[in-house]
């Protein structure tokens, strides 16, 4: 089993599924000869040719719309948007069309498509290159939003996303792209969608996160373990539809919960999880549900991005508040 980075796992999954399924095509800006600005599509052009590896003009609305058109014809479109900050021009196409064709035609047409994009910050990228878009999409009915947090999950979830019969927004954690490696077997096995993954079991507190913030959340759990606090760490993986059952079960056990997300706090997806806890978990909670999130500011340029992005220190601070209110 090769030890690979998250971006290599994405690339592997694309190769693997294009090999297996002739109806899969990839499209986007600079994804052909250039292999994508992060090299996610490296080698696809040489292996599968220009017809299935489509370099598009610089037009994100078109990329989304083209994916829609392709997918209605049985061609599984896997589109790349260069950075999630440039996904906004796709919003209209996704919510008003991709999410709806199946429903509005009562099943006659459908859009088995994926839109992939690097998401969130932390790599000192230029302006507009470090945004967190998950909530904007997760609020839309009729689609799925998936966010991997490790090479193996990236591989398995991307396969699942491509095979899913409905539109999937697949948000890849930019700053984890090359941060660490994992052994990933190219076995063509998809991971399950629509479920959360328990990253590690614990009994004192439930930490919930997804995407890039999973990394800091894991580090925070390590730190807590050293202090004798046993944290259960849950990776949402599929944000929409949300598998609250797993989270509720965990919180029923731990009685404490801290949510970690990078997108702006107000109306972020952590709020959705917390709202469900306020409804279904209230009676099992020993302490308030804390959200560690990006501030409600514009994502700052590189010099200040670390002020904005939650980190281990901020996670631990909220965890400590919880244990102050409800000591172990």
């Amino acid at each position: 089993m090769p030890n690979i980075t998250l971006i290599e796992a994405i690339n592997l999954a694309l190769h693997s599924e294009m090999q297996r399924d002739e109806s899969v095509v990839v499209l986007g800006e600079d994804i052909g000869r250039n292999g994508g600005v992060f090299r996610a599509t490296l080698g696809l052009l040489d292996t599968y040719g220009e017809e299935r590896v489509i370099d598009t003009p610089l037009a994100e609305t078109l990329v989304a719309a083209m994916a829609i058109g392709l997918s209605t014809q049985g061609v599984k479109a896997v589109a790349e948007i260069q950075f999630s900050g440039f996904l906004y021009p796709c919003v209209d196409q996704v919510v008003n069309h991709a999410a709806r064709y199946r429903n509005r035609t009562r099943g006659r047409l459908s859009c088995p498509m994926v839109i992939r994009a690097p998401n969130s910050g932390g790599i000192h990228a230029p302006e507009h290159h470090s945004e967190s878009l998950e909530t904007t999409f997760a609020h839309m009915p009729g689609i799925r939003v998936v966010a991997p947090s490790s090479p193996s999950r990236a591989y398995g979830l991307l396969l699942a996303a491509i095979r899913d019969p409905d539109p999937v927004i697949f948000l890849e954690p930019t700053r984890l792209y090359r941060l660490f490696k994992q052994p990933v077997e190219d076995n063509g096995e998809a991971l399950e969608l629509d479920v959360c993954y328990i990253d590690r079991e614990g009994s004192d507190i439930t930490l919930v996160s997804w995407g890039a913030m999973m990394h800091d959340t894991r580090l925070a759990a390590d730190q807590l373990a050293e202090e004798g606090i046993s944290a259960e760490v849950i990776d949402l993986a599929t944000l929409k539809p949300l598998d609250m059952a797993t989270i509720l079960q965990s919180v029923a056990k731990t009685g404490r919960c801290v949510l970690v997300s990078e997108s702006p706090r107000a109306g972020g997806w952590a709020s959705e999880v917390a709202a469900n806890l306020a409804e279904h978990g209230l009676l099992t909670l020993f302490a308030p549900v804390m959200r560690v999130a990006g501030y409600d500011t514009i994502m700052p340029l590189a010099k200040m991005e670390r002020v904005y992005i939650p980190d281990v220190e901020r996670i631990l601070k909220e965890v400590r508040k919880v244990f102050e209110i409800a000591p172990k």
């Binding site: 719309a65 009562r106 019969p165």
Partner: protein, 375 residues
């Protein structure tokens, strides 16, 4: 700027043409195309135009009597829909805006489906299996945003047809004059020729976008020239002239089928009705303008010409009206008779399979049953 300046030279030139064969006074310019020498085809086209108008009238009546929601009439624009319906082949793909009922009928959409749609029932977009329309797209209300779907569809059909070694299917996306102002329209037009796709962009220039005159949409003198932004052949045609309309369309379709790439056709017509039944056009346009437009009505001139050619008689007309009216009434009845969907149907085509985490929502709705104010 002149070419006599030695520092400046001409690098490209473009001409925009306008085609009109059947004039408003029922006279003919030039030679008739082959299809226009075939009485059967001529009669079929006429019948479908009249059928569209009868349908339109009924739909408006249903709306006025509270039996239908907002409805967008095709009045005065029947030649466009009918030309599309006759020019496309079964396996071609039609991506309509919302005023091309004639084309939809020709492709097998039951009139009752259109009523269902405007009546607020999604099942009106589930066109019957076995018809050409089964692979077509449903009406698009968000203006222009359906147009770039044509790029993906045509890319797919081109890839599939090449692989299968079969004749190219053609994709036709239609939209209004107002729709050409949106970026979605342009992103499609700008890119279609990059892959030499077999696409027809058909612009129904009915002179108005709700209350906005077409001249207020853009500084361009013609809508046809918007094709030049994508290096696409753009031309104008009298959209009230069914013969020119079909001819220009068939030529463009043939070019697309031959691998000569996309075309843009601006069909010049007039919206004789209000924008929709929710609109009152008297607020913003003079009655005389509408009256004058009636003189250019596509059905009137075509009927006069057919009669003059001896292809149509008063008896034919009578039969057509009575049979057409009956079929429209039958469609209205079918529409009224449709059994309401159960409330929980709002969940049943959201995803291929309803996610487990959403089951409780469906259960809640099913348990509650029909809701006041629904249906």
């Amino acid at each position: 700027m002149t070419t006599t300046d030695p520092a400046t030279r001409k690098v490209a030139s473009y001409d925009i043409y306008y085609t009109q064969i059947l004039n408003p006074d029922a006279s003919i310019n030039g030679e008739l195309p082959a299809f226009a020498r075939d009485p059967q085809q001529l009669r079929a086209m006429y019948a479908l135009m009249v059928q569209t108008r009868l349908f339109d009238k009924k739909a408006v009546a249903l709306q006025r009597t509270g039996q239908l929601g907002t409805f967008a009439a095709a009045l005065g624009q029947e030649a466009i829909g009918v030309a599309i319906g006759h020019a496309l082949k079964q396996d071609d793909v039609f991506i309509p805006a919302y005023r091309e009922y004639g084309a939809q009928f020709a492709r097998g959409v039951p009139m009752s489906d259109i009523l269902l749609y405007w009546g607020g029932d999604e099942r009106g977009m589930d066109y019957p299996q076995g018809t050409a329309a089964y692979h077509d797209f449903p009406l698009s209300v968000p203006i222009s945003t359906h147009v770039p779907h044509a790029i993906g569809v045509a890319y797919a059909t081109q890839m599939q047809d090449r692989k299968a070694g079969r004749e190219a299917r053609v994709v036709l996306a239609s939209c209004g004059d107002g729709a050409t102002s949106k970026g979605d329209f342009y992103e499609a037009v700008s890119s279609a020729k990059v892959w030499n796709l077999p696409i027809i962009f058909l612009v129904n220039n009915n002179q108005w976008a709700i209350s906005m005159r077409s001249s207020r949409q853009t500084g361009a003198q013609t809508f046809a020239q918007k094709g030049l932004a994508g290096g696409i052949n753009g031309e104008q045609v009298d959209g009230n002239d069914i013969i020119a309309m079909r001819l220009v369309l068939e030529r463009a379709i043939q070019r697309a089928r031959n691998g000569e790439g996309p075309s843009l056709i601006e069909a010049i017509t007039y919206r004789l009705h209000d924008h929709t039944t929710a609109d009152d056009a008297r607020r913003y346009r003079p009655e005389e303008e509408v009256q004058a437009a009636w003189e250019r009505c596509p059905i009137k001139r075509y009927k006069a010409w057919l009669e003059a050619q001896g292809h149509w008689t008063a008896a034919d007309e009578e039969t057509l009206i009575s049979e057409g009216t009956a079929s429209v009434e039958a469609a209205a009845q079918a529409f009224r008779n449709v059994t309401p969907e159960p409330p929980e149907a709002i969940f049943d085509h959201l995803y291929a399979t309803l996610p487990k985490s959403m089951q409780w929502q469906r259960d809640e709705v099913a348990a509650r049953g029909p809701v006041k104010g629904g249906h």
